[in-house]
């Protein structure tokens, strides 16, 4: 029992501490692939350290939402690792707080509060960022729900642990069209949710920003919390992609110390693989213009529908 509680704490700590590593890995290798030097893998840690030691400046026109939003976002990112298989493939205590849909809901709470905070300070760029982010959410959320429905129909259960067991045990389901279509659909959604091309690109020009414009008013520790929260969101989504869908192996089965440390190493390796795929995606595409955002998302919607159809015929 104590082991399970410790394992669950270890899961949250793993997500919190390893998230900047993945971000650093992707940023460095994007540069390396283009034959430039690239920042060190540990640079995001240094950035966070710097931010937490800077002075906090708050606009006069903001309300309590301004300082509540980063806290809510960070907390929700700490809550989700409790619900998904990060290090162990059996449900830990407190894992039954929510299923796949619940996890998605908690992730959305953080985004929702940041949207509110951007409107809160009254700056123009905040409003622009919020409205663009919400427009993207309108395109993304139905498809995300459909993907979750597809996963649920495939495994006949809403718990991510059951999906994991099914995919490990049953090779036929792993290679079935349902699963492959769901992987493709979720991959496209992953690109949108973790701020990758072809929808987002990192830019310092405010009129080109989609979601980054929401956090322009933040500074100091609050900015550090927000950046950390976005890195953790990316990490969590990659973990869901690997452990629930595409690479469900490498999780600790009994929860021993050896198993947990092996699972951590396996997690890092899996995420480096996903990171390499993301590097390939980032360096091979350019950004779509605004009116074409629906195209990859419509393709993802179609793939989710095809997955559900293929499941009915299975």
């Amino acid at each position: 029992m104590l082991c399970d509680v410790l394992a669950q704490i270890a899961q949250v700590l793993a997500v919190m501490l390893l998230a900047p590593l993945i971000q650093g890995f992707i940023l460095r290798y994007e540069e390396r692939v283009q034959r430039s030097q690239g920042p060190s893998i540990l640079q995001p840690y240094r950035d966070l350290w710097k931010l937490f030691h800077k002075q906090l400046v708050i606009p006069e026109t903001s309300s309590w939402i301004f300082w509540a939003a980063p806290v809510v976002a960070f907390t929700s990112m700490l809550t989700v690792p409790l619900l998904i298989p990060v290090l162990t493939n059996y449900p830990l205590p407190l894992s039954n707080m929510g299923d796949i849909l619940g996890g998605g809901l908690i992730l959305t709470v953080g985004t929702f509060f940041i949207n509110l905070a951007a409107l809160d300070s009254g700056s123009a760029y905040g409003g622009v960022g919020s409205s663009r982010q919400v427009m993207l959410s309108i395109l993304v959320e139905p498809t995300l729900i459909l993907v979750f429905v597809g996963i649920t129909l495939m495994a006949k259960s809403m718990l991510p642990f059951v999906v994991n067991h099914l995919l490990v045990a049953n090779n036929a389901v792993f290679w079935s069209p349902t699963h492959l279509f769901l992987v493709l659909a979720f991959f496209i959604l992953l690109l949108v949710e973790t701020d990758k091309l072809p929808i987002h690109s990192s830019t310092h020009i405010e009129v080109y920003m989609i979601g980054e414009a929401r956090i322009l008013e933040y500074s100091g520790p609050l900015l550090g919390l927000l950046k950390w929260a976005s890195m953790m969101k990316q990490f969590i989504l990659y973990v869901i992609f690997c452990n629930v869908l595409i690479l469900p192996w490498g999780l600790s089965i009994h929860g021993t110390v050896l198993g947990i440390s092996g699972a951590v190493i396996a997690l890092v390796i899996k995420l480096f693989l996903v990171g390499m795929i993301m590097v390939a995606v980032q360096t091979s595409q350019s950004r779509l213009r605004f009116y074409r955002y629906q195209e990859p998302l419509a393709a993802s919607f179609l793939l989710a529908i095809l997955a559900i159809i293929a499941n009915q015929i299975r």
Partner: protein
């Protein structure tokens, strides 16, 4: 019926090929560039030829090997070559005036798939063969027909119309390979040649369209009304 007594490995290979063909028809639906459209059609024809050969192998119909080879030659190689020649001569790259955005048409295509699935379930339960491969074959056949008609409706380039018609035929061919592999070979052979002649006629007509009307887009064909 062959599909009723298929062993599981064959059934899953057939399912995979069928679903890949359906996915390629959606690629055709959602592509802006006519070349992508044509390559998707070519790959789909190759897949259907592979399915033909496999059905011939599992069902002991040796004449289907001939059909498979002819399908590869005519629909997989000759037809894309002819279409490429037309495209090169016309200097048309893509549809310029879209009636429906590719993304919206993909969503309409998804609705078509759901409709086909419901129809296929009803038919197969009414017949008494609720096997998966039968339902899948019927679903994909109806889907490819509906998507073909959708392409014919929303696209206006002449080459898109030709490929849409060929997609309709591909759908029927795919369904007939799984459901009625024993259809007399003469019919299949003549249908294949007939399609070749049809495409030759299309090629000649496109040349006349380009010469007399000045463009191959059907948005220009507005002289005959009432």
């Amino acid at each position: 019926m062959l599909a009723a007594h298929l062993d599981p490995l064959a059934a899953s290979i057939f399912s995979l090929i069928t679903i890949a063909s359906m996915l390629l028809s959606f690629v055709m639906l959602g592509s802006r560039w006519l070349k992508d459209y044509m390559y998707a059609f070519g790959i789909q024809s190759w897949l259907i030829a592979l399915l033909s050969a496999l059905v011939g192998y599992y069902g002991h119909y040796p004449e289907l090997y001939l059909i498979a080879i002819l399908t590869v030659l005519f629909r997989g190689l000759l037809l894309p070559y002819l279409v490429l020649r037309i495209l090169r001569r016309l200097h048309v790259g893509r549809e310029l005036h879209l009636v429906l955005q590719p993304s919206t048409s993909l969503i309409v295509g998804a609705i078509c798939v759901i409709f086909s699935l419901v129809l296929a379930f009803r038919i197969s339960t009414a017949i008494g063969f609720p096997e998966n491969i039968v339902v899948l074959a019927l679903t994909v056949m109806f889907t490819m027909k509906l998507v073909g008609f959708l392409i014919l409706s929303i696209r206006h380039e002449a080459v898109s119309h030709i490929l849409g018609l060929m997609l309709l035929e591909n759908g029927i061919f795919l369904g007939s390979q799984i459901l009625i592999p024993g259809m007399p070979i003469l019919i299949e052979l003549v249908v294949l040649f007939d399609l070749l002649v049809a495409v030759a006629c299309f090629g000649v007509l496109i040349r006349y369209l380009m010469a007399r009307v000045g463009s191959t887009s059907s948005l220009e064909l507005k002289r005959l009304i009432g």
